[in-house]
């Protein structure tokens, strides 16, 4: 029924990806050079806004170290090094999310017994191949960046006799350090990180094994086995995605908390992952692959991107609205840092424009969702928009007022994007591009909306 179809990872494509990585590295080097040597030439304007922000934050910060919390850089690494660390952490969180969403998408399709997605499921599956790389990077990077990004790792905060003693973080210390002493090695935190990536990778290999065995053996047994695995994975992912959002992103601002945060990070990852799947399908189809994919499948992917852009906005607004209305100083400090200070305020507003206004208006009509050319415009907007969304979550907390978006950040994003695409396309070239004996394939071929 389905002809053998394989994606050929051409040397020309590889070359393009190497050029992307190379240009990224070059920009990164230029950015590092500029950050190292040009750091003190900021105009008076930035200085003034820093003063305003400092006073604003000082009036809201619950601890007595408000001024040092804003300035930040007095302890820890030099600004340029901190910027590299922050950017590495930011990009790794972002691309790790896209990889995990690949697996999550496949699991959702099985759990919902969806038929329409049968011919495209190999693309999100290939995206899952990034999970082990992201996991190794995440654990390695954590030990590299913890002193500069994660304020709570400072052991003097947990010493009552020390002038830096922080009662709030002492109260949260079990969440990081259990069963060790507060201020020693954060065993619980690191175990969670390793455990989540191991579980995700295990479920990825199990589900992949079933999907590939189905190509050879046929029948419905592999489908049922995949559905069972997917159901278990979804339960685990429900917990682990939330906890990882608190651990890896929210704990950068350790005093602050939001009960929406797990959902917020998930929503951002999910819509980015959907846009990536759609973009890959659109480009593969443009290159002559995936002949069984029709405009109706493209329409469904477009609906996904459209709907979950709105879902993300809904979560964004829920978080913002509650904090805005309650007006509690320890909560509003998060938004004051992001909305009112020079390096970040444009990103805060661009975030809403790129991730809500543009996809909402551009994908509203049925015809727009069915046009590959339109999706090729909207999906990159959504992906770049959510890169800025994660920037907005991570950098202001880690860099205080010293952050910025320059060659350094853009270069690293290009390196990560190139590496991610290389791993994904390489994995894709080793699979059957379209499942051969998928029980729902006939339904999907006749899919019509």
């Amino acid at each position: 029924m389905i002809a053998d179809e394989k994606y050929i990872f051409k040397p020309a494509t590889k070359q393009k990806l190497f050029i992307l990585i190379g240009v990224g590295l070059l920009l990164f080097a230029v950015g590092v050079f500029m950050a190292k040597n040009g750091g003190h030439h900021e105009g008076a304007e930035k200085h003034a806004s820093q003063e305003i922000a400092k006073s604003l934050v000082a009036s809201t910060e619950p601890t007595e170290h408000a001024a040092s919390a804003v300035e930040g850089g007095h302890h820890g690494s030099a600004t340029w090094l901190k910027r590299i660390y922050t950017s590495l952490w930011h990009n790794n969180i972002f691309f790790a999310g896209i990889g995990i969403i690949g697996l999550f998408f496949v699991a959702i399709q099985y759990a919902a017994q969806a038929g329409w997605s049968a011919p495209i499921k190999r693309i999100p599956l290939a995206m899952g191949s990034w999970i082990p790389f992201a996991g190794i990077l995440m654990v390695g990077l954590w030990f590299l960046v913890k002193g500069d990004l994660f304020h709570w790792t400072d052991h003097s905060l947990y010493d009552v006799k020390n002038e830096h003693y922080d009662a709030i973080l002492m109260g949260k210390s079990a969440y990081f350090f259990w069963p060790m002493h507060a201020g020693s090695f954060p065993l619980f935190f690191v175990v969670r990180m390793v455990l989540f990536f191991s579980l995700w990778y295990l479920f990825f290999t199990w589900i992949k094994k079933e999907m590939l065995a189905e190509d050879i053996n046929g029948g419905t047994n592999h489908w049922f086995a995949s559905r069972k695995l997917s159901a278990y994975f979804l339960v685990i992912f429900a917990v682990s995605s939330s906890v990882s959002a608190w651990d890896w992103v929210m704990s950068i601002d350790p005093h602050w908390f939001s009960t929406m945060f797990g959902w917020y990070v998930f929503a951002s990852w999910w819509v980015t992952g959907l846009a990536t799947i759609t973009l890959l399908v659109a480009n593969l189809k443009g290159a002559g692959y995936l002949k069984v994919v029709t405009q109706n499948h493209i329409h469904d992917l477009g609906k996904f991107v459209f709907a979950f852009s709105i879902f993300w906005t809904y979560i964004w607004f829920c978080q913002f609205m509650l904090i805005y209305y309650a007006n509690l100083p320890e909560e509003t400090v998060y938004f004051i840092q992001r909305m009112r200070t020079a390096p970040y305020s444009w990103i805060f507003y661009a975030n809403i424009f790129l991730n809500f206004v543009l996809p909402f208006l551009l994908l509203m009509t049925r015809d727009a969702k069915r046009q590959i050319s339109m999706l090729k415009v909207v999906c990159p907007i959504v992906i770049i928009g959510h890169w800025f969304d994660f920037y907005n979550m991570i950098t202001p907390g880690a860099m205080k007022l010293e952050g910025g978006v320059g060659f350094l950040e853009i270069g690293l994003a290009m390196v990560f994007a190139g590496a991610f695409l290389y791993v994904v396309l390489n994995a894709l070239s080793k699979l059957q591009l379209v499942a051969k004996n998928h029980p729902f394939m006939q339904e999907s071929l006749n899919h019509h909306i």
């Binding site: 913002f320 609205m321 209305y325 007006n327 049925r366 019509h448």
Partner: protein, 174 residues
Amino acid sequence: MDSNKNFVVGIFEDEDVLLHAVEHTREKGLKIHEVYSPFPVHGLDEALGYKRSRLPIAAFLFGMTGTSLALLMQIWMLGYDWPMIIGGKNHASLPPFIPVTFEMTVLLAAFGMVGTFFIASDMKPYKWPRQFDIRSTDDKHVMAIDLATNKMSKEEISALLKSQGASEVNEKNF
């Protein structure tokens, strides 16, 4: 009201037969008044050559009306008519208005769509639908052809429908 209309009514047992019959009948140049079926038949809209509904456009316009009405109402009420300080916010600050604006958008879009649909399909109180064959609510597909809009005679049409697999062909006058 359009009274004294004569219809030829073909009864079909099977939706595949019906689909082919619709295609062939239209190829022969016949205009089909309407097809009634007990359940949605996939592809029937395309076979009948129906254009896509313009209801979404109406929905968008009604939704926009709701958005602007809600914003105007709140900005006027809380900003000008009776300014109040709530939680230390500005009189007319946008974020607290968003939930009401969203609800008004959905409400007007929904009501507007229902109203537009009723008007467009001529549904109103005390207007009873023409029942070409009561069995179209049970197990038969019914194809109605208006004699006035077609040049073919009654006999030609019945013969054509029979040849396309109609189990019976009746006449119906309103």
